[in-house]
Protein backbone atom coordinates (compact mmCIF):
# COMPACT_ATOMS: atom_id res chain seq x y z
CA UNK A 1 0.00 0.00 0.00
CA UNK A 2 1.38 3.39 -0.96
CA UNK A 3 1.43 5.78 1.94
CA UNK A 4 3.34 8.72 0.56
CA UNK A 5 1.55 11.13 2.87
CA UNK A 6 2.70 9.27 5.99
CA UNK A 7 5.80 11.41 6.43
CA UNK A 8 6.64 11.27 10.13
CA UNK A 9 10.30 10.39 10.66
CA UNK A 10 11.04 9.75 7.02
CA UNK A 11 14.68 10.57 6.22
CA UNK A 12 15.98 12.60 3.32
CA UNK A 13 14.26 15.94 3.77
CA UNK A 14 16.14 19.23 3.90
CA UNK A 15 15.62 22.36 5.97
CA UNK A 16 12.13 23.55 6.86
CA UNK A 17 11.19 26.50 4.61
CA UNK A 18 10.78 28.73 7.66
CA UNK A 19 10.42 31.94 5.64
CA UNK A 20 7.50 30.52 3.63
CA UNK A 21 5.03 31.54 6.30
CA UNK A 22 2.08 32.79 4.30
CA UNK A 23 -1.29 31.08 4.39
CA UNK A 24 -1.89 31.68 0.68
CA UNK A 25 0.62 32.59 -2.03
CA UNK A 26 -1.87 33.56 -4.70
CA UNK A 27 -5.52 34.32 -5.12
CA UNK A 28 -6.24 30.95 -6.72
CA UNK A 29 -5.06 29.27 -3.50
CA UNK A 30 -7.66 31.27 -1.56
CA UNK A 31 -10.40 30.11 -3.92
CA UNK A 32 -9.06 26.54 -3.91
CA UNK A 33 -9.33 26.47 -0.12
CA UNK A 34 -12.98 27.53 -0.16
CA UNK A 35 -14.14 25.88 -3.39
CA UNK A 36 -12.72 22.55 -2.21
CA UNK A 37 -14.70 22.76 1.02
CA UNK A 38 -17.91 23.49 -0.88
CA UNK A 39 -17.06 20.66 -3.28
CA UNK A 40 -16.64 18.28 -0.36
CA UNK A 41 -20.05 19.27 0.99
CA UNK A 42 -21.77 19.05 -2.42
CA UNK A 43 -20.18 15.65 -3.10
CA UNK A 44 -21.20 14.38 0.33
CA UNK A 45 -17.71 13.44 1.51
CA UNK A 46 -17.00 13.35 5.23
CA UNK A 47 -13.68 14.60 6.64
CA UNK A 48 -12.12 11.15 6.58
CA UNK A 49 -13.17 10.49 3.00
CA UNK A 50 -11.83 13.94 2.11
CA UNK A 51 -8.43 13.10 3.61
CA UNK A 52 -8.40 9.73 1.88
CA UNK A 53 -9.05 11.58 -1.36
CA UNK A 54 -5.93 13.72 -0.89
CA UNK A 55 -3.97 10.60 0.05
CA UNK A 56 -4.91 9.02 -3.26
CA UNK A 57 -2.94 11.69 -5.08
CA UNK A 58 -0.45 10.28 -7.57
CA UNK A 59 2.42 9.15 -5.27
CA UNK A 60 4.92 10.40 -7.82
CA UNK A 61 3.48 13.89 -7.49
CA UNK A 62 2.32 14.11 -3.86
CA UNK A 63 5.52 15.72 -2.59
CA UNK A 64 6.01 18.13 -5.47
CA UNK A 65 2.49 19.45 -5.92
CA UNK A 66 1.54 22.70 -4.25
CA UNK A 67 -0.61 22.07 -1.17
CA UNK A 68 -3.68 23.75 -2.64
CA UNK A 69 -3.12 22.09 -6.00
CA UNK A 70 -3.61 18.80 -4.16
CA UNK A 71 -6.79 20.27 -2.66
CA UNK A 72 -8.31 21.36 -5.95
CA UNK A 73 -7.39 18.04 -7.57
CA UNK A 74 -9.20 16.40 -4.67
CA UNK A 75 -12.19 18.71 -5.17
CA UNK A 76 -12.54 17.40 -8.70
CA UNK A 77 -11.97 13.80 -7.54
CA UNK A 78 -14.76 14.16 -4.94
CA UNK A 79 -17.17 15.82 -7.36
CA UNK A 80 -16.66 13.08 -9.95
CA UNK A 81 -16.79 10.22 -7.47
CA UNK A 82 -19.81 11.81 -5.80
CA UNK A 83 -21.62 11.84 -9.14
CA UNK A 84 -21.88 15.62 -9.30
CA UNK A 85 -19.56 16.09 -12.29
CA UNK A 86 -18.91 13.86 -15.26
CA UNK A 87 -15.29 12.70 -15.26
CA UNK A 88 -14.35 15.08 -18.08
CA UNK A 89 -16.52 18.02 -17.01
CA UNK A 90 -13.75 20.30 -15.76
CA UNK A 91 -11.42 19.70 -18.69
CA UNK A 92 -14.33 20.15 -21.08
CA UNK A 93 -15.25 23.45 -19.45
CA UNK A 94 -11.68 24.69 -19.77
CA UNK A 95 -11.29 23.55 -23.36
CA UNK A 96 -14.74 24.73 -24.37
CA UNK A 97 -15.93 21.30 -25.41
CA UNK A 98 -19.00 19.61 -24.02
CA UNK A 99 -18.90 17.19 -21.16
CA UNK A 100 -20.39 13.75 -21.15
CA UNK A 101 -23.63 14.42 -19.31
CA UNK A 102 -22.73 15.87 -15.96
CA UNK A 103 -24.98 14.50 -13.26
CA UNK A 104 -26.11 17.60 -11.45
CA UNK A 105 -27.92 17.51 -8.18
CA UNK A 106 -29.53 20.18 -6.10
CA UNK A 107 -28.45 20.68 -2.55
CA UNK A 108 -27.86 23.40 -0.06
CA UNK A 109 -24.49 22.11 0.97
CA UNK A 110 -22.36 24.14 3.31
CA UNK A 111 -18.88 23.31 4.55
CA UNK A 112 -18.16 22.25 8.10
CA UNK A 113 -21.81 22.23 9.12
CA UNK A 114 -21.85 18.58 10.12
CA UNK A 115 -22.16 17.27 13.64
CA UNK A 116 -18.43 16.88 13.95
CA UNK A 117 -16.57 13.71 14.83
CA UNK A 118 -16.79 13.72 18.63
CA UNK A 119 -19.03 10.96 20.03
CA UNK A 120 -20.23 9.73 23.40
CA UNK A 121 -19.84 5.96 23.70
CA UNK A 122 -21.13 3.57 26.35
CA UNK A 123 -18.00 1.42 26.39
CA UNK A 124 -15.42 2.36 29.01
CA UNK A 125 -11.87 3.05 27.86
CA UNK A 126 -9.79 -0.11 27.72
CA UNK A 127 -6.65 1.70 28.86
CA UNK A 128 -5.95 4.15 31.69
CA UNK A 129 -3.50 7.02 31.94
CA UNK A 130 -0.08 5.57 32.70
CA UNK A 131 -0.76 2.20 31.08
CA UNK A 132 1.89 0.66 28.89
CA UNK A 133 0.54 -0.05 25.41
CA UNK A 134 1.84 -1.54 22.20
CA UNK A 135 0.82 -0.18 18.82
CA UNK A 136 -0.27 -2.84 16.36
CA UNK A 137 1.74 -3.26 13.18
CA UNK A 138 -1.26 -1.99 11.25
CA UNK A 139 -4.85 -1.01 11.88
CA UNK A 140 -7.04 -4.11 12.28
CA UNK A 141 -9.57 -2.33 10.06
CA UNK A 142 -7.03 -1.43 7.37
CA UNK A 143 -8.16 -1.91 3.82
CA UNK A 144 -5.64 -2.35 1.04
CA UNK A 145 -4.76 1.21 0.12
CA UNK A 146 -7.34 2.42 2.62
CA UNK A 147 -7.37 5.29 5.05
CA UNK A 148 -5.95 5.08 8.55
CA UNK A 149 -4.64 7.53 11.13
CA UNK A 150 -2.01 5.14 12.44
CA UNK A 151 1.29 6.81 11.52
CA UNK A 152 3.82 4.29 10.27
CA UNK A 153 6.61 5.50 12.55
CA UNK A 154 4.79 4.31 15.69
CA UNK A 155 3.55 0.99 14.23
CA UNK A 156 4.70 -1.87 16.44
CA UNK A 157 6.21 0.50 19.03
CA UNK A 158 5.76 0.55 22.83
CA UNK A 159 4.31 3.64 24.44
CA UNK A 160 2.57 4.98 27.53
CA UNK A 161 -0.93 6.45 27.72
CA UNK A 162 -0.63 10.10 28.69
CA UNK A 163 -4.19 11.36 28.12
CA UNK A 164 -7.57 9.85 27.35
CA UNK A 165 -8.88 12.12 24.62
CA UNK A 166 -12.56 11.15 24.40
CA UNK A 167 -14.23 8.98 21.75
CA UNK A 168 -14.37 9.85 18.07
CA UNK A 169 -15.62 8.55 14.76
CA UNK A 170 -13.14 5.89 13.57
CA UNK A 171 -11.50 7.15 10.37
CA UNK A 172 -10.54 3.70 9.09
CA UNK A 173 -14.17 2.72 8.60
CA UNK A 174 -15.77 6.15 8.23
CA UNK A 175 -13.60 7.09 5.22
CA UNK A 176 -14.99 4.13 3.33
CA UNK A 177 -18.69 4.38 4.11
CA UNK A 178 -18.42 1.53 6.61
CA UNK A 179 -19.90 3.36 9.57
CA UNK A 180 -18.75 5.57 12.38
CA UNK A 181 -17.64 2.83 14.78
CA UNK A 182 -16.66 5.46 17.38
CA UNK A 183 -13.62 4.54 19.45
CA UNK A 184 -11.64 5.97 22.36
CA UNK A 185 -8.58 8.00 21.44
CA UNK A 186 -5.48 8.10 23.62
CA UNK A 187 -2.55 10.48 23.54
CA UNK A 188 0.27 7.94 23.70
CA UNK A 189 3.80 9.04 24.58
CA UNK A 190 6.77 7.42 22.88
CA UNK A 191 10.46 7.77 23.67
CA UNK A 192 12.47 8.80 20.63
CA UNK A 193 14.93 6.07 21.60
CA UNK A 194 12.20 3.47 21.08
CA UNK A 195 11.10 4.97 17.76
CA UNK A 196 14.57 5.48 16.27
CA UNK A 197 17.07 3.45 18.31
CA UNK A 198 20.04 4.55 16.23
CA UNK A 199 19.36 8.28 16.46
CA UNK A 200 20.60 8.85 20.02
CA UNK A 201 17.68 11.26 20.56
CA UNK A 202 16.05 11.91 23.93
CA UNK A 203 12.81 13.73 23.15
CA UNK A 204 9.26 12.43 23.52
CA UNK A 205 6.62 12.17 20.80
CA UNK A 206 2.94 12.08 21.73
CA UNK A 207 0.58 10.65 19.13
CA UNK A 208 -3.23 10.46 19.24
CA UNK A 209 -4.18 6.86 18.58
CA UNK A 210 -7.54 5.12 18.31
CA UNK A 211 -8.12 2.22 20.67
CA UNK A 212 -8.28 -0.41 17.86
CA UNK A 213 -4.66 0.48 17.01
CA UNK A 214 -3.48 -0.49 20.50
CA UNK A 215 -2.95 -3.68 22.43
CA UNK A 216 -1.62 -4.67 25.83
CA UNK A 217 2.08 -5.43 25.54
Amino acid sequence: MTRTHDLGGRPGFGPVPVDDDQIFHADWERRAFAVTQFSQAVAGFNTDAFRHGVEREDPERYLELDYFDKWIRNAERMLVEGGVFASDAVSAAILGTSALGAANRTTDAAPAQGRGAHRVVSATPKFAVGDAVQVRSESPAALEGGHTRLPGYVAGKPGTVRLINDAWVFPDTHAHGQGESPAWVYAVAFLAGDLWPNDNATHTVVVDLFEPYLETP
Binding site: L7, G8, G9, F13, P15, V16, P17, D20, D21, I23, A26, W28, R30, R31, A32, F33, A34, V35, F38, S39, V42, R51, D66, F68, D69, I72, R73, A75, E76, L79, V84, A89, A93, I94, L95, G96, A102, T106, T107, A110, A112, H118, P151, Y153, L163, N165, D166, W168, A187, A189, A192, L195, W196, T202, H203, T204, V205, V206, D208, L209
Partner: protein
Protein backbone atom coordinates in the same frame (compact mmCIF):
# COMPACT_ATOMS: atom_id res chain seq x y z
CA UNK B 1 0.72 29.77 -26.49
CA UNK B 2 1.69 31.05 -29.96
CA UNK B 3 -0.77 29.42 -32.25
CA UNK B 4 -1.37 30.62 -35.76
CA UNK B 5 -4.44 28.61 -36.52
CA UNK B 6 -7.58 30.52 -37.24
CA UNK B 7 -9.17 31.23 -33.91
CA UNK B 8 -11.86 33.85 -34.03
CA UNK B 9 -10.51 37.24 -33.08
CA UNK B 10 -12.68 37.37 -29.99
CA UNK B 11 -12.01 33.81 -28.99
CA UNK B 12 -9.44 33.40 -26.22
CA UNK B 13 -6.71 30.87 -26.54
CA UNK B 14 -7.51 27.96 -24.30
CA UNK B 15 -5.83 28.14 -20.95
CA UNK B 16 -3.62 25.34 -19.71
CA UNK B 17 -5.98 22.77 -18.18
CA UNK B 18 -3.24 21.61 -15.81
CA UNK B 19 -2.80 25.06 -14.31
CA UNK B 20 -4.43 24.83 -10.87
CA UNK B 21 -5.63 28.42 -11.08
CA UNK B 22 -7.49 27.54 -14.27
CA UNK B 23 -8.98 24.41 -12.74
CA UNK B 24 -10.16 26.21 -9.61
CA UNK B 25 -11.95 28.77 -11.73
CA UNK B 26 -13.53 26.11 -13.92
CA UNK B 27 -14.75 24.07 -10.95
CA UNK B 28 -16.22 27.12 -9.26
CA UNK B 29 -17.93 28.19 -12.49
CA UNK B 30 -19.46 24.75 -13.01
CA UNK B 31 -20.72 24.63 -9.42
CA UNK B 32 -22.20 28.12 -9.72
CA UNK B 33 -23.82 27.37 -13.08
CA UNK B 34 -25.36 24.22 -11.62
CA UNK B 35 -26.79 26.27 -8.77
CA UNK B 36 -24.84 24.26 -6.22
CA UNK B 37 -22.59 27.01 -4.90
CA UNK B 38 -22.94 30.76 -4.55
CA UNK B 39 -19.71 32.67 -5.19
CA UNK B 40 -20.63 35.15 -2.48
CA UNK B 41 -20.51 32.29 0.01
CA UNK B 42 -17.12 31.25 -1.35
CA UNK B 43 -15.95 34.83 -0.78
CA UNK B 44 -17.38 34.79 2.73
CA UNK B 45 -15.61 31.56 3.63
CA UNK B 46 -12.27 32.97 2.45
CA UNK B 47 -12.90 36.16 4.39
CA UNK B 48 -13.71 34.22 7.54
CA UNK B 49 -10.59 32.07 7.47
CA UNK B 50 -8.19 34.70 6.23
CA UNK B 51 -9.35 37.60 8.38
CA UNK B 52 -11.79 36.65 11.15
CA UNK B 53 -9.82 33.70 12.48
CA UNK B 54 -6.16 34.03 13.20
CA UNK B 55 -3.42 33.84 15.79
CA UNK B 56 -4.73 36.95 17.54
CA UNK B 57 -7.40 34.68 19.02
CA UNK B 58 -4.81 32.34 20.46
CA UNK B 59 -2.71 35.28 21.65
CA UNK B 60 -5.66 36.54 23.69
CA UNK B 61 -6.02 33.10 25.27
CA UNK B 62 -2.33 33.01 26.16
CA UNK B 63 -2.19 36.57 27.51
CA UNK B 64 -5.19 35.87 29.71
CA UNK B 65 -3.55 32.70 31.00
CA UNK B 66 -0.40 34.67 31.84
CA UNK B 67 -2.31 37.23 33.88
CA UNK B 68 -5.15 35.20 35.40
CA UNK B 69 -4.03 32.20 37.43
CA UNK B 70 -7.51 30.72 37.71
CA UNK B 71 -8.03 30.98 33.96
CA UNK B 72 -4.69 29.29 33.38
CA UNK B 73 -5.79 26.39 35.59
CA UNK B 74 -9.07 26.05 33.71
CA UNK B 75 -7.27 26.30 30.36
CA UNK B 76 -4.89 23.48 31.16
CA UNK B 77 -7.66 21.32 32.61
CA UNK B 78 -10.14 21.79 29.74
CA UNK B 79 -8.78 23.81 26.84
CA UNK B 80 -11.94 23.69 24.75
CA UNK B 81 -14.12 25.12 27.53
CA UNK B 82 -11.66 27.80 28.61
CA UNK B 83 -11.08 28.89 25.00
CA UNK B 84 -14.85 29.03 24.51
CA UNK B 85 -15.02 31.53 27.39
CA UNK B 86 -13.35 33.99 25.00
CA UNK B 87 -15.78 33.09 22.25
CA UNK B 88 -13.55 30.84 20.17
CA UNK B 89 -14.41 27.37 18.91
CA UNK B 90 -15.71 25.50 15.89
CA UNK B 91 -14.35 23.53 12.95
CA UNK B 92 -10.93 21.95 13.56
CA UNK B 93 -11.31 22.79 17.23
CA UNK B 94 -13.98 20.42 18.48
CA UNK B 95 -11.64 19.55 21.28
CA UNK B 96 -8.54 21.60 22.02
CA UNK B 97 -5.83 20.61 24.46
CA UNK B 98 -3.42 23.26 25.72
CA UNK B 99 0.08 22.09 26.60
CA UNK B 100 2.23 24.23 28.85
CA UNK B 101 5.87 25.10 28.33
CA UNK B 102 7.91 25.20 31.53
CA UNK B 103 11.56 25.37 32.51
CA UNK B 104 11.61 21.58 32.15
CA UNK B 105 9.40 20.89 29.10
CA UNK B 106 9.11 22.51 25.67
CA UNK B 107 6.16 21.48 23.51
CA UNK B 108 5.99 21.46 19.72
CA UNK B 109 2.99 20.65 17.49
CA UNK B 110 2.97 18.96 14.09
CA UNK B 111 0.66 16.92 11.87
CA UNK B 112 2.73 14.23 10.15
CA UNK B 113 -0.20 12.79 8.15
CA UNK B 114 -1.66 15.98 6.69
CA UNK B 115 -1.97 19.53 8.05
CA UNK B 116 -4.19 19.43 11.16
CA UNK B 117 -4.08 22.72 13.03
CA UNK B 118 -6.29 24.48 15.62
CA UNK B 119 -8.22 26.80 13.29
CA UNK B 120 -10.35 28.56 15.96
CA UNK B 121 -7.31 29.91 17.79
CA UNK B 122 -4.62 30.12 15.08
CA UNK B 123 -6.53 30.39 11.80
CA UNK B 124 -5.08 28.50 8.83
CA UNK B 125 -1.54 27.13 8.99
CA UNK B 126 1.47 28.82 7.41
CA UNK B 127 2.97 27.07 4.40
CA UNK B 128 6.02 25.74 6.23
CA UNK B 129 3.76 23.89 8.70
CA UNK B 130 2.34 21.94 5.74
CA UNK B 131 5.74 21.28 4.16
CA UNK B 132 7.06 17.71 3.87
CA UNK B 133 10.24 18.88 5.59
CA UNK B 134 8.44 19.96 8.75
CA UNK B 135 6.06 17.00 8.76
CA UNK B 136 8.87 14.47 8.35
CA UNK B 137 11.47 15.99 10.67
CA UNK B 138 9.60 17.62 13.58
CA UNK B 139 8.96 14.25 15.25
CA UNK B 140 12.42 12.86 14.60
CA UNK B 141 14.86 15.72 15.12
CA UNK B 142 12.87 18.49 16.81
CA UNK B 143 15.92 20.24 18.22
CA UNK B 144 17.39 20.63 14.74
CA UNK B 145 14.06 21.90 13.41
CA UNK B 146 13.86 24.37 16.31
CA UNK B 147 17.35 25.64 15.52
CA UNK B 148 16.21 26.34 11.95
CA UNK B 149 13.71 28.75 13.51
CA UNK B 150 16.51 30.24 15.59
CA UNK B 151 15.22 28.59 18.75
CA UNK B 152 17.84 27.09 21.04
CA UNK B 153 16.80 25.41 24.29
CA UNK B 154 18.87 24.54 27.33
CA UNK B 155 20.20 20.99 27.16
CA UNK B 156 18.16 19.81 30.13
CA UNK B 157 14.80 20.81 28.62
CA UNK B 158 12.68 17.85 27.52
CA UNK B 159 11.24 18.41 24.06
CA UNK B 160 7.76 16.95 23.69
CA UNK B 161 6.34 16.78 20.16
CA UNK B 162 2.57 16.41 19.70
CA UNK B 163 1.49 14.74 16.45
CA UNK B 164 -2.13 15.77 15.75
CA UNK B 165 -3.05 12.42 14.26
CA UNK B 166 -6.73 12.39 15.34
CA UNK B 167 -9.28 15.18 15.91
CA UNK B 168 -7.84 16.75 19.06
CA UNK B 169 -6.02 19.99 18.28
CA UNK B 170 -3.09 21.18 20.36
CA UNK B 171 -2.13 24.71 21.35
CA UNK B 172 1.14 25.50 23.10
CA UNK B 173 1.01 27.83 26.09
CA UNK B 174 4.41 29.51 25.79
CA UNK B 175 6.34 30.79 28.78
CA UNK B 176 5.86 34.45 29.57
CA UNK B 177 9.04 36.32 28.64
CA UNK B 178 11.10 37.38 31.67
CA UNK B 179 10.70 41.01 32.63
CA UNK B 180 7.14 41.37 31.32
CA UNK B 181 5.39 40.73 34.64
CA UNK B 182 4.21 44.35 34.88
CA UNK B 183 2.58 44.46 31.45
CA UNK B 184 -1.18 44.26 31.23
CA UNK B 185 -3.10 41.64 29.28
CA UNK B 186 -3.54 43.87 26.21
CA UNK B 187 0.16 44.61 25.92
CA UNK B 188 1.08 40.97 26.49
CA UNK B 189 -1.02 39.93 23.48
CA UNK B 190 1.58 41.58 21.24
CA UNK B 191 4.29 39.27 22.58
CA UNK B 192 2.44 36.08 21.63
CA UNK B 193 3.35 35.08 18.11
CA UNK B 194 1.68 32.38 16.08
CA UNK B 195 4.96 30.47 16.05
CA UNK B 196 5.19 30.51 19.84
CA UNK B 197 1.80 28.79 20.02
CA UNK B 198 2.96 26.09 17.58
CA UNK B 199 6.10 25.80 19.66
CA UNK B 200 8.76 26.58 17.07
CA UNK B 201 9.72 29.88 18.72
CA UNK B 202 9.56 31.37 22.19
CA UNK B 203 7.09 34.13 23.03
CA UNK B 204 8.55 37.58 22.62
CA UNK B 205 11.02 36.32 20.00
CA UNK B 206 10.88 37.84 16.51
Amino acid sequence: MSHDHDHDHHHHHHPDPHDPAVRVEAIESLLVEAGLVDSARVDALIEKYEHDLGPLNGAQVVAKAWTDREYRTRLLADGTAAIAELGFGGAQGERMVVVENTDQVHNLVVCTLCSCYPWPVLGLPPSWYKSPEYRARAVREPNVVLSEFGTELDDHVEVRVWDSSAEVRYLVLPQQPPGTEDLNETDLVDLVSRDSMIGVRLAGAL
